[in-house]
Symmetry: D2
Subunit: 435 residues, 4 copies
């Protein structure tokens, strides 16, 4: 940069461009922060404080941790004179950043009845004000961190919702977390169709201008044989056929670890399905409380083992990450069923018509690919480098986002990852097949 | 009764006596219920909903369970036309009465974020009103059940306090639960003295008029050799000497199960003592938050294994239940350090003077006796028969009540019981010796 | 002693008496040692090395540990110049004597495939020879230790048998450990009768001349009300009635901890009963392999929880240790069904006639008494003081010995003890009742 | 086949060729079977029966299971009139083939003290004779199954050795399993060098004539960027540098799951390294007992987490499976350090000279690739289809074989797989790097 001789107009143009992105970033920041707070509004102090399992966190913790992220990585690092809101909060609200010091054991988060939800919301306001105040003087590097913080917070919005859903499911009262959105969850059943995708040398991963997490990078070449991809997600109706043909009772469909999981946990149906003696599973539990099982909606809250077993039962397989990402390349992510407001969300039946449907939104789609580094992967420098790379063992990649993913948060290159037994996220399955 | 020919005056006198006890019972009922509610006042909805370990319960659960006890055993059984406040509550708030149907798994109580604390307090008001309304027509049998309910609720008052203390200790902020009461916790150290107690044939257990739990009955004869009893509880100062002489590091002082417990949990001091590198344990955590360790106060929050090891180290032993009860026979329980209000409670240094001190109040005293039936024991009929008898294996008897026991709740024949590793109650140790 | 003036004749008489007891002791030593070795003869090297659960030990370990006891407490302490057979053996074969140094973790004993059974038998021969060689010069104190070692080894004979039984039960081949002894296990069913025992002041515990373990001492006074004792043990036939009336399915019969144990382990019958679809439990597994369930034989391999539940179901209770010991005072222990040879042992049906039957031998009888110190108890000095006293929490007393107890090993004051869930020993139940 | 018109000479030639391969197969069968038996010779009945952890199996079980494989998949399926040697053996010695019925729980294998080692060796002889007798009439299909059985047995030869090593390590006597082979384990240290490997489109997987497991197939195209590969394995000397620079104490080198594993198990060095206060780790335990740590020998018995952490510490990474397989394409597997006899095996220092060394033999090399299906993978039909496919989750691929792998058993396409925490196999690490 230092060798360039810019005209005044050029300098000004660049300045304007930076200012425009600064404004856009602050606009994004304010919107993201407001949605998280809105998601907490229907929750009581107790709702927001409880932790239903070690994998989940209290809503209050999500509210505070995302705030701590901005305070710790932006304000304390780059805003001179910034005084931490409360020095104890780093211990309480650091998630797993070893580089940022000791933290409370994960499974103990539900015992933090103090600070209260009210106090955490005040903490949010304090940090919000400080970020906005600092915005004018932020360098590009800092703006990148704010952008990372916004994307980080969007991830926690989804976790907040799924953790609340899991918590409320433990309560025999089966309370509703959010008002029902006015969407109709039933539709005309459509037979699944196979879409043929050409093979060849493909360039995948993220390489463009927009935001991406480190694990999506770099762009890299992959050779793909041609393959078939289901045009939509597997439905509840189809899953019932799997159950009724003994899907959960025959070892032949299951990976060895999956079969052990089924037997140890006596799994008989997807998570949140509600059994009725003599009726099977007429209902499921959702963010709006118990509801009729929508047969044409995609089956959700299944783990990798279940997705894989279903595919084997169906004479198919799961797509690889590369196959999925390649197929999704031509599709626009923004039009799907995503999280927009603090309302009850749920996956919707596939629309009619040809071509691939439900790629983005509705449900995260399990792939048959382990979460491992792309060729040439380099983690970010510093503590934010712990963001993704250190989780690269034992987990599988999910693609496409879900109805609980904030709209605009997703990309074809986006890599979500969970252990093969985890199923409290909005997860589903799309089949693939060799040609 | 029906064969007696009573004069009118006699009949009236009996009626008056019943009415007087009815009035007294309702007065007791109102006072007990009010104190429980007062104990919950400093707690937030979140504080009242969390469960720090399977042994403990959320404060909200105590508030609701004690209410359910009256609703289930009195209102639903004996008040015709009474409609349960909420049919789900029996599942939520039954503790362990198999005779009263299924209930939520004990370790899941902390996930009941609904009903809220506010709703539980309304439930309390509803049941209180119904009991008071029914009072006028209660038979003696029903009044006995109300009396049992009051005593049951007093037990839960103590549990509520100790469970909150344990919960707050898990929070790195170490919050205070209650305001400090104005008592001075320091005093002049007094050397422990041995009091000689005569042996002989003693009649122990409860047999009089007043209330007692079934496990305190019947009166029964016990032959006791003479023995020595320490005139006061072991102090924090004395316990430090035990620690400093390697008390927690030498297997020779410990029961085999106790030594395994020490090593597995890496125990080095009583519960709630706060370690400082280089300083030892200058502070402890209490209901008013962290405070200086009061050297002349009795050591508290020790388990049976610790009490027993200390006694062996000191060349003494724990008293048996019979020895303790016999020695306490001549003492008045009401004057000790007990729970009166929703204030921070703590055990106090022994007063000066001869004779046995601190028998009642301050701290529950571990005995060397297993919690087993008295000769001739018969549990109550019906579901309330599950109250004590079914816990008669593996636990040890504690006597005398503590600073967290409601005043007037205790008797010499009172039998508290906990497993030998449990120490989150206000427990202490008094030594005994053969002559 | 030093003030006594003895005549020569008196001195000689005392000397003769010591020599006679020396000879008797060596005779006992040789017989005890030979029986243990005989018990190992039917076992292969692999049989003798495996450990079926942490509570059990390999037969080889019993063979070596009992030998180590003599080597460690007698030869190394009192025989000058004695060189340990193998310095590694103390680490391998010390059971739990903290005073004798570190030892291998209990649950790892089954991984000691070396030294072999053959080598352990050589170790036995070496130590046997050294003890016999040292006999002539043993002081009274040392002879007491040898006597303790013999009694210790008899206890391990019983454990060896029960541990082999448990091991072979894990093998789907259900092998027989020992040849069947020619005893007939069937008899005419006799209705149980109650024997009335007078109450009063009783003196219990051990105080006489013969050998006793420290926990049986001292003699002490106990006041007993009068009581009823069943004249014989509960039979398999009676236990089937308990099962068929829902004994294992109704919580009302069970202690709280016992009910949790039943549900967690899905207990439906005594240990070693073999279920057949449609037939119930027509067989059981024993030391001679599977055999027909003898209906008139006493029910065996039940734990305290089961014994207690049965008693409650039968409208009775378990006897206390004092009640049992008092009742047994007039009976001779030696005539019962005991272990004499390396043959299959089993409990036998009660004989006909009046009075208490099966008190000694057949099966250990669960009492309702916790294993706690007798008044005035003092453990032995030194490492042998770890023998009994450190186990005085959480366990219940059993009385009378079993068919696997070596004949002559038992006394009325003998105190065996196990945790309430343990049932791999030859344990049974005799009922008691208040009058 | 039935449409072909062959001349007599052609028919005879084909027949000759089949006979030649039949002879070769029987020769292979006899050699493989003999080596397994030889490996058991130094073991006692007890050694051969014990199971040191659920991941491992008793040697006797390996001997019997490999025999059951031939009996179950060949003799019972294809030899008319074959009567199973013992009908109980299928329950005892089936490993995990759900299609072959119920089997004993894996962690209970160490309790099968019967049948004895001697009886299992007789079982082996019986089945060997039956296979040899049936050889003359075996179809090609059956010969393929015998070939599979031989390769299966070779895998269990390696497991037998590593399981014995693990068992003997639990014994404080640290016994030697096998005589030392006369190989010299020290050599001149050579600095590691990087070998540049060209990228491009590669065809990997197995597709040729010889034997392969289903998971190695089919041949498939992979696009590889160019990369650097270390010319030899990491040495013990280099690993000590990792330890001394805090490798096991700094979270920054570790995957999140790996760091949890380090802390939970307090890992400080590779498995079998023997710590000496003040000296570090001067010795390690091997098949010949404790021995001096050979500094120039490759580090062995490390898990994936350790291999990955070391690579990060070294500024490198693990090779992918494709990178490894591509690089190994031009090398001959047969010349390395492999298992030939029942002697103690160990990895050897790298030889001098340019190019890649130690690719085959010495140690299995961890790759950064999850064990997942190759594109187009199809498991074998029938129960043998459970061989590999059902383990395709959570495990990582290892390549190249080890000193405990039977010579001739390995190929470049060979895929071994273990969970990332497992390290009782002969595992090592070779570094890779992006260009």
């Amino acid at each position: 940069m230092e060798d360039l001789n810019l005209t005044t107009a050029e300098t000004k143009a660049i300045g304007n461009s930076i200012e425009r992105s600064r404004t856009a970033l602050m606009s994004q920041f304010v919107r993201v922060r407001a949605l998280t707070t809105a998601l907490a509004m229907p929750l009581s102090d107790a709702d927001a404080s409880a932790q239903s399992m070690p994998d989940a966190s209290p809503a209050k913790w999500h509210l505070a941790h995302t705030t701590w992220f901005f305070e710790s990585f932006v304000l304390q690092e780059f805003v001179s004179g910034y005084v931490p809101y409360d020095t104890a909060f780093s211990y309480l609200f650091n998630s797993y950043y070893e580089g940022k010091g000791e933290r409370i054991a994960r499974h103990m988060r539900g015992l933090l009845t103090r600070p209260s939800l009210e106090e955490v919301l005040q903490y949010r306001e304090h940090v919000d004000a400080a970020i906005v105040a600092a915005a004018a003087s932020m360098s590009n590097e800092v703006m990148e961190l704010v952008k990372l913080g916004c994307n980080h917070e969007q991830q926690h919005q989804e976790l907040l919702i799924t953790d609340v859903l899991h918590l409320f499911y433990q309560n025999p009262l089966l309370p509703a977390a959010y008002s029902t959105e006015p969407l109709n969850n039933e539709g005309r059943p459509q037979p699944m169709a196979w879409v043929k995708i050409d093979g060849g040398m493909k360039v995948l991963g993220h390489g463009g201008e927009g935001f991406s997490f480190d694990c999506e990078r770099p762009r890299h070449s992959v050779w793909l044989p041609p393959y078939l991809l289901a045009d939509r997600l597997v439905t509840n109706h189809e899953w019932l056929a799997f159950i009724n043909s003994g899907g959960y009772e025959k070892s032949e469909y299951w990976l060895s670890d999956g079969w052990a999981w089924v037997q140890q946990n006596q799994i008989r149906a997807p998570l949140y399905w509600i059994y009725s003696e003599g009726e099977g599973w007429p209902h499921r539990f959702g963010l709006a409380g118990p509801e009729k099982l929508a047969l044409t909606a995609p089956v959700s809250h299944i783990c990798f083992y279940e997705a894989d077993a279903y595919a084997r039962w169906a004479g198919a397989r799961l797509p690889t990450e590369a196959e999925w990402e390649n197929a999704a390349a031509g599709y626009v992510p923004e039009q799907g069923v995503f999280l927009d407001d603090a309302l009850s969300v749920r996956p919707m039946p596939a629309s009619a018509g040809d071509g691939l449907k439900q790629l983005f939104g509705d449900l995260w789609e399990w792939t048959g690919s382990a979460f491992l580094p792309h060729p040439g992967f380099r983690p970010e420098a510093g503590a934010v480098g712990e963001y993704n790379g250190k989780f690269m063992s034992g987990q599988f990649v999910l693609k496409g986002g879900s109805c609980a993913t904030p709209r605009n948060h997703i990309r074809a290159s986006y890599r979500n990852f969970f252990y093969p037994h985890q199923r409290w996220q909005f997860t589903g399955v799309r089949l693939a097949k060799d040609i």
